[in-house]
Symmetry: D2
Subunit: 407 residues, 4 copies
């Protein structure tokens, strides 16, 4: 596309009454954290296919995350998983990241890969296991402090596979007790993002099964606790944008784990399965960003956007760049909604016009807009093409194909 | 089955360490409200098939409800739907019911059958419609007072069919505002049961879509507001017994609308699609009834059990009797769980034993037990057989087949 | 949008290697049948809200269908439902339609609204009911002959609500037997479109529950029997475009009932819940239209596209126009897929490029294209705006608001 | 339970008109294959927890399978997975199994764990990969011949994650082509069981996604090809017993992979999530076993019952014993259905009686019956208790805890 493509787009939007300058500002402000584990090999329960170019060390993960930021300009932070990204000196890890041009994002405690967590971590019937789990949570708060991270992102694999296996209410009490201890250790400017999940790896129940359980827990803990919405963690048919709006309204929406799904928690590239759903989620956020209520507004502006996917068959860095572009595309479209037209149709009870006003924004082709925003920021107009031309892919393929992995 | 069947059952349970006397007491205490509308013709969107024996007037509905109570001894109250069960004098309605041997149960305001509610009732964008809806809610509080009912059962059809049709957060505020007004009008001993529903008749969003939204609203309103769980109002796969345990733990489980489903809100006879699910729900209740925490215990004991089904193709009174028997069956089984064995297996991390301990109770044949309980209470051992022999079915068929319906 | 918008679009697509002339031809060839019942009042099981402008007679339905064709140029035929659209003289009905500028499309036998069909029609355990059902099917063949219709569209509400209610295999035999009789009565140029449905109004089983059962039946009956895909009749998560491709490959895809759903068979405006899904369905069709195999190609070209929705809260004619435009939009996008790029990426095993090649087409804004196509055909560029300006809506509102409905 | 428990049970069933002798014969005839892989460590994508007592070699798997057969008397064959159970001499493997008292059941080719199968096996776009996959299929036919196995059980992980990634119809042709080659290599007395799966590991489409695709393929291949139903491979809400009845009616039901699920393909212990569903499946089989049509009858009698589960947190051998007992329990209940009562109620259109007749069988406690059947066959009345007392668990725990795994 050419300059004229953008000029035409801009005129078109101005005719629709859209303030394109403001749209560009918003798009520039959108930052999306990428996950360190998204650069390493991942798989299904059937197989983790090995790719020669997958990152094998924390250093390689940081390098790949930095590359994604270099080409997109939108991913200044990388989330880490502990102990996968263990470092003897986390201050040095943060310095390493900084030297690569990125920062450390959310710290994700891992409480599901030790054998002792087979029957649960913070909800395990064995008090010694619960104590160890809480200890790990506290260690992660220290790691956040050491790396300058301000967010602890909490996903628990805790759940059961069979009726009777666990006592729902007892486990609920243990969950609350554990998180209270962790909450007390948070610094004033840290926040705790509580994730929920419908099922898997628990196939009978999950201790934090839905937004209501995560929200209620956050309410009990205090203002530093917020809910994290993973777009793949809901039952089929769930209206996720409704939940997003609800949590925004209560000032408790802390962040997102972005990915796409058609069936279960498929962890595909965000926006690939149902782009309209992602657009509708961002439409609620865009609306909240304009809200009269400062709490709603500030909540929307502080949302931590994070990608959390499983790139089972894709080249990882291009998958990440594509993900970022998909998010930008749907946010851009959401910013093109003419909310006055929507509100007027709602007041008039004109269902068809209200729907048409929302969908009209989705039908816009925002490619010229995103290219213009990137170029104005000194970034490549097409991050994917730029990545492919950069030679980075070949370099890591060659370097990492070496028989012995670096330590 | 014979006396010896029960004798054998009792010995068997004693060997399992079950206090059969206590089980019987609990079974005797189980009361299930039947709905007036369950005695009238109901249908799908494709067709409401007409049955000659369906109740056509409030009086006939009361008579049928009384018949169900006569044969089961378990259904002393009948829920009413306003304005379907409108009476010029609700005190007289209650007296009529009393003379038939039953009382008036929950009052259900109907806010979905007037044309003005097409786009919502308490969440309608038109303030005049919202005002009328609130007025109806307040009128229903008066009706509860006049009939001696202590429960207002609230289901809202409010929702939207298309993105953009309504403003989620604005509607949320209107919902809360409307219910606050209603809450303020409740007597000290009344309670408000807030129902939620995943979808239908809203096919894009429902204003109270899940237990979390109903619970959060109840929390805001105050102690007289509780959550009502309709067993057919969840996404596929939802672990309903987990939600039940959660709400019991929070002291906010107000009641049930019982019915069965395989797909959507199918409103079939409770316990017919997946009996084990109903058992597992009752297992959580039975466990809560034994809890050390008095709030949990009292919440469990105060649960309002109500049937809410759509008998599209079945004879209505036998369908209701069958429903009551199904509920009794699963509650009886739940009372046979050896919780000590469950707890011990949980402590030991023995998943298979824990599951086996729960399932063992489900595998019991409780027919002799239920027959004994009924006979000891002076009721027919087999309510269905007794109903069939009573001649009631033939009487109403003949009487109601008359060309002109009574007013 | 202006001429320059289209000029820019055309250049853009030519750069992508798309033959725009051919795209326009295809778009011109797309014809979508509208259903007579979509112009009348429809509702949910809770309520059928009455609209003053709804069509009340067969004549009014034909007029409304003709209006939709006038503004869109894409809906030359109207499907009829028997007995809803009963006429004493069906030849005259066809002549009436012709005088309004439209023809009679598929004939839809109705076997679910008589009380005798409560427990099934062609699968009823009572041979007399089955005989009557078959008689109605044969009468509909005669009606097709009388009206010049070449398609019989068969949806059966047959199913059960409870285990044991019916014998699956016996009912399967009755279904086959009934349709064999009907098949034998078809003229050489008629076709029988067999619809399947996951559930509702049967809430335990549906006799033709999925495409496999409909397909197998069609295989047994012969070449005039084909499968009809209703986009709302599948379990959650179903990959409908896969089924479409499969049936195309077998030469058995007869037609579509278009509508949208988020939950169950919601019957919303097609393309409103998940536009990408509709695009992907059309992508399979567009691909089949280019296939080397003439059977696949001819099957794709003969598909009967039909709208089948329930306009519970919308103005019916605008809802229909919107539906037609949504279908045109997604078909247009599907025609913009660069299949060479897709095939090349598939050969190379480049998952990301293959996906990008498909999605790129979806991201195009096809509004200028569709406007150009319409204007070149002498139609209004914006059918909805033209309808609103035409005064038709006001005319029918006034005429039909009259207290007494015409006969 | 005591002898008197059985005596009471028998009298009770005779009063219901059940031929208990025949029921016992059927129960004795029920044989269930266990899978070699079910004795080894298995996990979710998050973690495969290691158990010291898991089988690590083919020999250990055979030993464990033999142990399960020893205690249950119902599992004479063990299914093998190639290459997981590779042997240099498969004749010797069969002899080893025989010496342990068991035989080799279905041979399961594995086409999903080599890196070259990342984008598919028999449907891979690369002809060299397809050729290698077919070669493996043919090798498995040879293995079947060498081990005396008569069944090849085919599950393909083939599918895609994104729209555009693969060409549905081309892949369909490749699938068919590959299986035709394999089919031609089958001996006259071998059969090919074709499994289907809704999703996973393909998260956009699965090449054999449902019973219809598997069935149609089997039809094309010939009489030695049949459909295998895995109880966890369907969309939510699917009426599996309907599919079972359908395939029985067409003479194409080859076998089952038994497991339980609440959400996706959870692979839990069969019968643990929804015991009633398993009962209803067996009810269809029991009904088919009595059918007038010899094809239906013979199909039912030849069903290959196989367990296919993932014991992520359970001790494997007890999990298998429990699974076998669950299957026996539900089959036993299914054999207690009074089909005359069901048929009579169906004829009379008495929905409630028909359902009651089916459910009455489910409500029976069949523990005394199963204990009697086992004791009469010289087996332990309670296989689980017998296993626990046998010391086998302790022996393998100690032996396999040794640091170095045997080769």
């Amino acid at each position: 596309m050419s300059d004229s493509a953008y000029a035409w787009f801009e005129r078109e939007q101005q005719n629709r009454g859209i303030d394109v300058t403001q749209v560009k500002e918003r798009l520039n402000a959108l930052k999306i954290e990428t996950p360190s584990w998204g650069y390493a090999d991942q798989g299904t329960r059937f197989r983790t296919f090995k790719r020669a170019d997958a990152a094998r060390t924390v250093r390689e993960k940081l390098e790949d995350a930095a590359a994604v930021h270099r080409f997109t300009g939108a991913c200044p932070d990388v989330a880490i998983h502990i102990p996968w990204d263990h470092a003897d000196d986390f201050g040095k890890l943060a310095a390493d990241a900084k030297s690569l041009g990125i920062g450390i994002g959310a710290v994700n405690p891992n409480l599901f890969q030790d054998d002792e967590y087979m029957l649960g971590s913070v909800t395990n019937a064995d008090p010694a296991v619960r104590a160890r789990a809480v200890e790990h949570l506290l260690a992660c708060v220290d790691i956040a402090r050491a790396t300058g991270s301000k967010a602890l992102s909490l996903w628990f694999a805790d759940g059961t596979n069979y009726p009777g296996q666990g006592d729902f209410r007892q486990r609920k009490a243990w969950m609350e007790e554990s998180l209270r201890t962790m909450y007390a250790a948070l610094d004033a400017d840290m926040r705790m993002l509580i994730e929920y999940k419908f099922f898997e790896p628990g196939f009978y129940h999950t201790d934090l099964a839905d937004w209501g359980m995560a929200y209620n827990l956050a309410q009990k803990l205090g203002p530093k606790a917020e809910v994290l919405v993973d777009t793949g963690h809901h039952p089929q048919g769930t209206n996720i944008e409704h939940i997003v709006a609800y949590l925004l309204d209560e000032g408790r929406l802390g962040g997102f784990h972005f990915n796409a799904r058609k069936y279960a928690d498929d962890d595909l590239i965000v926006g690939s399965a149902n782009p309209y759903e992602l657009f509708l989620i961002f439409a609620q956020i865009a609306l909240a960003e304009r809200d009269a209520n400062p709490i709603v507004r500030r909540t929307a502006e502080r949302i931590a956007y994070m990608i959390d996917q499983s790139h089972n068959i894709e080249a990882k860095i291009p998958a990440m760049i594509r993900s970022v572009m998909n998010v930008q595309t749907q946010y851009a479209k959401a910013l093109l909604v003419d909310w006055n037209a929507v509100a007027e149709a709602q007041r008039a009870g004109d269902v068809l016009e209200a729907e048409a006003a929302v969908r009209e924004a989705f039908e816009q082709n925002v490619t010229p807009l995103l290219q213009a925003v990137r170029e104005e920021a000194g970034l490549p107009a097409d991050p994917m093409a730029a990545y492919k031309q950069s030679g980075y892919a070949e370099r890591i393929w060659n370097a990492r194909s070496a028989a012995v992995a670096p330590l």
